[in-house]
């Protein structure tokens, strides 16, 4: 039975897989129809007819991950690392009967590039579904507090 604790553990584990660069295990957390969305507007509703920083399906997420390991991926020499600092997830829905599980988690994210280190703050929203005994991500949404500021390269996943 999926409980609020199951959701919380899932959110922590997802971030940990990113921090430890277990890319395949991380991709396995996603539903085949999943999307990874990073909006470009405050409380944005439409990912298709409004601009976003990212709105990607599994195919595109795989491209990103495969690129990271490429021999000629010059912007990953040296490789970036990342760190997620999460607040306790706020459970917005935990309804096994309806199959609806939602959490929103405040975060500080750090990404390195050589000697440089960039910090970002925002909220991660997880829309989850139950597949067999497991939770899978239908939508991971990253709302940066300063989504409208001009950033340098963001190469990993928040």
């Amino acid at each position: 039975m999926i409980s609020e604790n199951t959701i919380t553990d899932f959110v922590y584990r997802e971030a940990d897989l990113l921090d430890t660069m277990q890319w395949q295990a991380w991709l396995d957390l996603f539903h085949p129809e999943a999307r990874y969305w990073m909006p470009l507007e405050w409380q944005q509703q439409d990912p298709v007819l409004q601009p976003s920083l990212m709105y990607e399906d599994l195919l595109l997420m795989k491209v990103r991950i495969e690129r990271l390991a490429g021999e000629r991926t010059f912007s990953q020499k040296p490789k970036s690392r990342c760190h997620h600092l999460l607040q306790a997830p706020q459970i917005l829905a935990c309804d096994p009967a309806a199959g609806i599980f939602k959490a929103r988690t405040s975060f500080i994210y750090t990404e390195t590039r050589g000697d440089a280190l960039e910090r970002f703050s925002g909220w991660a929203s997880h829309d989850l579904v139950q597949v067999g005994d497991e939770l899978k991500i239908k939508l991971k949404r990253i709302d940066l507090v300063n989504f409208d500021a001009p950033f340098g390269n963001i190469q990993l996943f928040m």
Binding site: R67, P150, G152
Partner: protein
């Protein structure tokens, strides 16, 4: 130590026939002179009239480093001002866009100005009686920029009072803006959202040059576009229809031969474009209903003529790039010698199917974003160049690909698509617009006065 100030000969010496000195990218003094001479002497993109649809609407922008504000007056006219209160210099508008109502009101001492810039009111005005205030520049209200041209809703301005006229400056290069606008069945574009913005720690000219650099995609973008093709080939399974995403990424891996035959067209004053005969945008899927709309609006022949023109990147010297086929304008805004703010705007084709806007937005976040894997490749190259150019062993950047001795400057020509001639064209214009008013200051005849 001032090497270049009031020294047009030294500035011109930075640009050889097919090489440029690294100081154009790394010397802070050269950057200062660009802000003082090049940007004021050139026609600079400010914004799009669709951002000023109602009276009182305003947008802010920078021309070089100077903040400006454009507003729509009650009579429908668009005015452009320096964004400072004539009193103490406080910016009268701080947001990228908004509606100010009937007047601008300075937040410091409540001086107010009509949306045509004229002074409306000053609190406790009697304090200025008999002070000679009426004879000061402040009495005229917001300082107006006189040389403003709105071409098919694209607002351009030249800060210098004297210089090259708009039509002479852009000439036939305006055909790319025409083509982008004509792609709307109503001949109308609209800005509906903020641009994607990102910051590059490199000189602004590296980004501009890269727009017509056709020998880098298959190398620098192998890691992004090449990987996209590889993953798609592996994962596609039985699906036969290429997803929009793969259609957009894939052509970046086109071979040298493709770019060679696709051609480059150069125009006078540093403008030019890639993709004369065809381009990386040629083979996108048709979008249902669109061709029918275009034929109904323009007739069969003209509709096919408009849609058959799929230019790749058009550089409008000095610092914007327009992609008609995907309705994108990138503005390379200089912040410092090694810092460039990019704003990548998408225009909606008014009256066209949503799918076209969806594709343009998708292209923009795939290619022109801090989260773009293609952009990651490019920024890495610019940053390495910004560092590498500090070396003294070789102080020249080589732009000699397909150079022919005796190349005429300021001509219109179509050439091999892998030529670096458009970069040479830009640097010729660079030296010209950097120095045209320096000569005047030195009491010599200018090279190209109006």
């Amino acid at each position: 130590m001032a090497k270049y100030e009031n020294n047009p000969r030294a500035i011109r010496g930075l640009v050889r026939e097919a090489e440029v000195h690294r100081d154009v990218y790394v010397d802070p003094e050269v950057f200062e002179l660009e802000m003082e001479h090049l940007f004021p002497n050139s026609w600079i993109y400010v914004g799009h009239a669709s951002q000023l649809s109602k009276p009182g609407d305003f947008i802010t922008a920078n021309i070089g480093r100077q903040p400006v504000v454009a507003s729509r007056h009650s009579d429908g006219a668009i005015h452009l001002f320096y964004n400072r209160c004539p009193h103490k210099g406080v910016k009268i508008a701080s947001e990228p866009c908004g509606n100010t109502g009937k007047f601008f009101r300075c937040p410091y001492h409540a001086w107010s100005f009509k949306t045509d810039g004229s002074l409306l009111a000053i609190p406790l005005k009697k304090g200025y009686e008999g002070t000679g205030f009426a004879e000061t520049q402040a009495n005229d209200g917001l300082s107006k920029i006189k040389n403003v041209v709105i071409y098919r809703d694209f607002i351009f301005a030249r800060l210098s009072e004297h210089g090259v006229a708009f039509e002479d400056y852009f000439g036939d290069s305006l055909s790319t803006i025409d083509n982008m606008t004509d792609r709307s069945p109503q001949g109308k574009l609209a800005v509906e959202a903020a641009p994607i913005r990102y910051m590059h720690t490199c000189n602004w000219k590296m980004l501009v040059e890269n727009q017509t650099d056709t020998c880098h995609p298959m190398v620098a973008h192998e890691s992004s576009a090449g990987t996209a093709i590889k993953v798609w080939q592996r994962e596609q399974g039985d699906s036969t229809e290429k997803p929009m995403a793969v259609q957009l990424y894939g052509p970046f891996m086109s071979p040298y031969e493709f770019y060679e035959q696709s051609g480059i067209r150069i125009w006078p004053n540093g403008h030019g474009h890639t993709g004369v005969n065809n381009s990386i945008h040629s083979n996108y899927s048709d979008i249902e209903g669109y061709l029918g709309q275009m034929v109904a609006a323009y007739g069969e022949t003209r509709a096919h003529e408009i849609l058959g023109e799929v230019r790749h990147n058009t550089v409008y010297f000095p610092n914007i790039m327009v992609k008609g086929a995907v309705q994108i304008l990138r503005n390379f805004i200089p912040i410092a010698v090694d810092r460039t703010l990019v704003e990548s705007w998408v225009y909606r084709l008014v009256g066209a199917p949503d799918k076209l806007y969806e594709r343009a937005l998708m292209y923009n976040r795939f290619i022109n974003a801090p989260t773009s894997i293609v952009g990651h490749d490019d920024l890495e190259m610019y940053e390495r160049a910004q560092e590498g150019l500090k070396t003294n062993g070789n102080q020249w950047v080589n732009l000699r690909r397909l150079y022919e001795s005796g190349e005429e400057p300021d001509v219109t020509a179509v050439i091999n698509g892998t030529s670096e001639r458009q970069m040479r064209n830009q640097f010729h214009a660079w030296a010209k617009y950097m120095t045209m008013d320096m000569d005047k200051n030195l009491d010599q005849p200018g090279e190209a006065a109006e």
